[in-house]
Symmetry: C2
Subunit: 411 residues, 2 copies
């Protein structure tokens, strides 16, 4: 008999019929003899509905009040599932984040978990009860409700799995696992049976929206085996786990694409020490996360500095950089929005050389110009023109041997 | 500077525009120098929407889970109003029932308040903050959310006013006060400036849906002055307060009608001791509240027993009484659904004799037959044929001098 934490996302509890199906799955796991803890998100669309109401009230809603508002969505779904389970004769009880002891700091709307007590869950489990827990929410030291940021229900599930030393944390979602690439862009993409925490983290941070990044960090820290699986069909999912020998045999595990960046270039910057620190210090102070940076070789004591920022922050960043460029005596500021980033990810890169060289060669063969490059131990990213993104992803997917061998299953 | 508890019902916070207007009213009270505590209901329709979801899940939803579900409605409105107030520069903060220390027993969906601490409200007030409190909800000794039953937000407001020794508790609703009769039935009905707790209680229990009964009991017990007023227009409301000499001068304060009762008659009951106790004991055990009872004079050791029950309980009551009538050897059971109860209410009845006689005479002059009569110190009720209810109410209203003297204001 094992202890399983099951987390269901917003689309999996999106209406009454789907909650019935979640109940069936929980009931089945109980009948198979497992202890089950269920973590739920709000019904899909509910968080957006509430946010819309908030912004109809006032232009900049207070964040403590936003948390009070947004935390209601999960309370609805946990109550509905618990009553459904009880109606079927499965002993179940709903619990809020507070009731299961998800303690957080006071950074409303993006709180960080400081401690998980899980006392009431342990008591419920020892009585054979299925605890149905509201994801996404916790409580701070003043006893005020906090929320963990978008995708925070994944974090709740992983944190509870860690606190309870669960055998597995299964994230039920609308896809059946982690793929070598987005199947909408790369039809030959394969589902991975296994992926390491590190690779998953790179995938998540590069825009593969399967698992929230912080939940992967948390899982890695406490070695929680996390399975990503579909709540809509039966079958195997992808296990996110510690790196093993198996994984290192594969050079590249996945290809990701990201259109969410824009490039800013400060042209004609006087090449003096401290200029870069000044620019990026100011940008960081404005809470804008810079992804990639390149600086040209200096010519006649002048240089160009290019960097990428998330598209939603572009206007703010440009305004700031315009001011800075005057202060530092730069010539001008140029903006390119039509860029994209294509990345290869794989723990195998550590032991296989030549991945970067092969990547550049493949892209150049297709006439794709590389504007910026950044590398880490298990990742290589290239910024290219946005229009080439799909082509680049498909070509790299094939070149690195990721294509599915057999024909795709129908349906 | 006085301390005012303002409570707004579901229609008063029914949409974004209306919440803006509530914020205006709160802001005005603050500018006039008052300390303000706001208590809110859920948006009108929200509780029904949630109940519908619950019944779509399962036929008999668990009551603890219902409370988890239903308590979300008020959390939404308090968060929205608090962010709106802060957006206007009024210092405000939302609090749940738990956060303000509304402690209750564990009777889910109809919990009773056991203790009110109000610590966080006191702290907020001392900092000049407007606490915006979720009505209708509390917390039991296990730290589970409870709800106080329909209309429970009134009770929250009165209980907080009592705990805070507030100068006044204003219940803002969709009517501008308590009337001598339902103006939809009696166009000449007048708004009362003042009414005693006792009269208000009789009105409430007889179906005048302005204030929840338990909140009036609570207000009477702790002498909280409660004002009923309109959230949609400016002007005077009705003050519910201790009885005073003024009130006793008036013979009758109001006329109410109630169509919610049905009559059951057990025909041919053997006239032996203990029969009535057996019948009404069984009915009470089935949680059916009997309102009026009459027993005919015995003839040939046989008697008829008639009593009224709430219409929603009629089928259950009839099934039970059919069984009982066989056991006790009664002849038959008859049911009359088309009855109504008309009542006169007034603390003045204590010092004015002849109210009952005059009531019977007025009804008889209109050809209205009286089927049952019950009286209390400040109330006389008659059960009549339902079709005569409006006629009876209007005639009594005029006969007891309650009609408005001046023409009704337009709009």
């Amino acid at each position: 008999m094992s202890l399983i934490v099951q987390k269901y996302g917003g689309t999996s509890v999106g209406n009454v019929e789907r909650i019935h199906r979640v109940a069936e799955r929980v009931e089945r796991a109980r009948k198979e003899g497992h202890h089950v803890v269920v973590v739920l998100s709000a019904m899909s669309g509910e968080t957006d509905r509430l946010l819309k109401l908030a912004h109809e009230m006032t232009s900049a809603p207070d964040e403590r009040e936003l948390d009070m508002l947004l935390s209601t969505g999960e309370r609805v779904t946990i109550a509905l599932l618990a009553m459904e389970l009880r109606g079927r004769g499965v002993q179940a009880q709903s619990f809020t984040g507070r009731q299961v002891g998800i303690h957080t700091d006071s950074a409303h709307t993006k709180a960080r978990i400081s401690r998980v007590s899980a006392d009431r869950i342990k008591a419920a489990l020892s009585q054979g009860t299925v605890p149905v827990v509201a994801g996404f929410q916790g409580i701070n030291a003043s006893s005020d409700v906090t929320t963990l940021g978008r995708g925070g229900s994944d974090l709740t599930a992983v944190a509870l799995a860690a606190a309870l030393k669960a055998d597995r944390c299964i994230i039920y979602t609308d896809v059946d696992g982690v793929y070598t690439a987005d199947p909408n862009i790369v039809p030959a993409a394969r589902r991975l049976d296994k992926i390491s925490y590190e690779e998953m983290l790179e995938m998540a941070s590069l825009g593969a929206k399967v698992l929230q990044s912080r939940s992967v960090e948390f899982a890695a820290k406490y070695s929680v085996p996390v399975e990503v699986n579909s709540s809509f069909k039966e079958g195997k999912g992808t296990l996110v786990t510690r790196e093993d020998a198996d994984m290192e045999g594969v050079m590249v595990s996945g290809v990701t694409g990201d259109r969410n960046q824009a490039k800013i270039t400060i042209v004609g910057v006087p090449d003096r020490p401290g200029i870069a620190a000044r620019v990026f210090g100011a940008v960081a102070n404005a809470n804008i996360v810079v992804d990639m940076i390149i600086q040209n070789v200096s010519q006649a004591s002048m240089t160009d500095i290019s960097f990428t920022v998330p598209k939603p922050d572009l206007r703010k960043a440009v305004d700031l950089v315009q001011l800075l460029s005057q202060e530092i005596g730069a010539r001008s500021v140029a903006v390119t929005e039509s860029i994209a980033k294509v990345s290869l990810i794989g723990v195998g890169m550590r032991s296989h050389s030549g991945v970067a060289a092969k990547m550049f060669e493949v892209l150049s063969r297709e006439g794709v110009n590389i504007m910026m490059i950044s590398t880490s131990e298990i990742k290589i990213s290239c910024v290219i023109e946005e229009k080439y993104l799909e082509l680049a992803m498909r070509t790299l997917h094939t070149a690195f041997g990721l294509d599915r061998v057999s024909a795709p299953a129908l349906g």
